[in-house]
């Protein structure tokens, strides 16, 4: 609590009547930032690293953040950029790991398929397929179906034209359909 108060005092504020503080931003959006990092990198440790470096960068740049715009989009932009950088750095290693997880997520023919295990298996297969998408499509798919952003919001976060985002969503979904169809 004391730390939170100190942060309120220490951080640059306020062009609006009730300005968002950094502490509020972390509390409100940390799950979403971690989630987008997890779905883009496909790796929990990487996602934690990405989330903490996202908030570190956000803390440093908080005085430059335009308070008239949604904090969520600003944080998601930093998080997706951080996740992309991470994936590029560790691309091969992560890909290998995801492929192993993908293989282990495939149906075990000896198991009895009850509804819950089928659903779990389906989720794991879809997540693995998303992790294997090219980065260009993966980011828009995650922002659309994990963060529930509209096409315009994704365009704002990724700084791509909305029409491009629309096409990338279509292609990403088509690729997923192909991958999942081939995995059956």
């Amino acid at each position: 609590m004391a730390a939170s108060v100190a942060l309120r005092i220490g951080l640059p504020m306020t062009r609006l009547a009730s300005p968002v503080t950094f502490a509020d931003g972390v509390r409100e959006h940390q799950d979403e930032v971690y989630g987008v990092a997890l779905r883009i990198t496909g790796d929990r440790d990487a996602a934690l690293d990405v989330a903490s470096s996202t908030f570190l960068k956000a803390y440093r740049a908080f005085d430059r953040y335009d308070q008239t715009r949604p904090l969520r989009h600003w944080l998601l932009r930093i998080a997706t950029n951080e996740a992309i950088t991470y994936v590029r750095k560790r691309g091969r290693e992560l890909r290998r790991r995801v492929e192993v997880e993908h293989a282990s997520a495939l149906a075990d023919p000896t198991a009895t398929p009850d509804a819950e295990s089928v659903a779990r298996e389906d989720r794991a297969r879809i997540r693995a397929a998303v992790s294997l998408l090219p980065e260009l499509y993966r980011v828009v798919i995650v922002l659309r179906y994990f963060n529930d952003l509209s096409v315009d919001e994704i365009a704002h976060v990724t700084k791509r034209p909305a029409s491009t985002v629309g096409v990338q969503l279509l292609r990403g979904r088509a690729l997923l359909r192909t991958t999942l169809g081939a995995g059956r």
């Binding site: 942060l7 799950d31 989330a51 997923l176 359909r177």
Partner: protein, 139 residues
């Protein structure tokens, strides 16, 4: 056919949303805001020093480049000026040959006479065209 595709898309979207949702077991540990702030403050001097060093380096590089340009200009300028002059003279010579042929053709007496005649015909034609609507209105 189109409905099937739309159903497929809707199904895909629902499946995707459900699959990508964070499960309770996946939730991360709470981030320590004070620790983030402390880390940022601890790294700030190094960050500021790196930023300052990069600015100084960029400034020195820009100054070096400007100095190089200023030093090289007196040496290079006469040669460049001479090259430009030569190029201009060559272009002028190339244009002058066909231009002089055209000028000598225009100097022949038939050309100005023909041009004047054509002008007179054009003027007469223009007047005729303008008179016709006036006649229509008055009649």
């Amino acid at each position: 056919m189109r409905n099937d595709r739309r159903d497929d898309d809707l199904f895909d979207e629902m499946r995707l949303r459900r699959a990508l949702r964070l499960e309770a077991a996946e939730l991360p540990p709470r981030l320590d805001i004070a620790a983030i702030a402390a880390r940022a403050r601890a790294e700030r001097p190094a960050f500021a020093a790196a930023s300052l060093a990069s600015r100084v380096f960029a400034g020195v590089a820009a100054a070096g480049l400007a100095g190089l340009v200023v030093a090289a200009l007196p040496v290079v300028a006469p040669a460049m000026a001479s090259d430009l002059f030569t190029a201009a003279i060559e272009t002028l010579t190339r244009v002058a040959v066909p231009a002089s042929a055209l000028l000598s053709l225009a100097e022949q007496p038939t050309i100005p006479i023909a041009a004047l005649a054509a002008l007179a015909v054009a003027i007469v034609h223009e007047y005729t065209l303008r008179r016709e609507p006036v006649r229509e209105v008055t009649s």
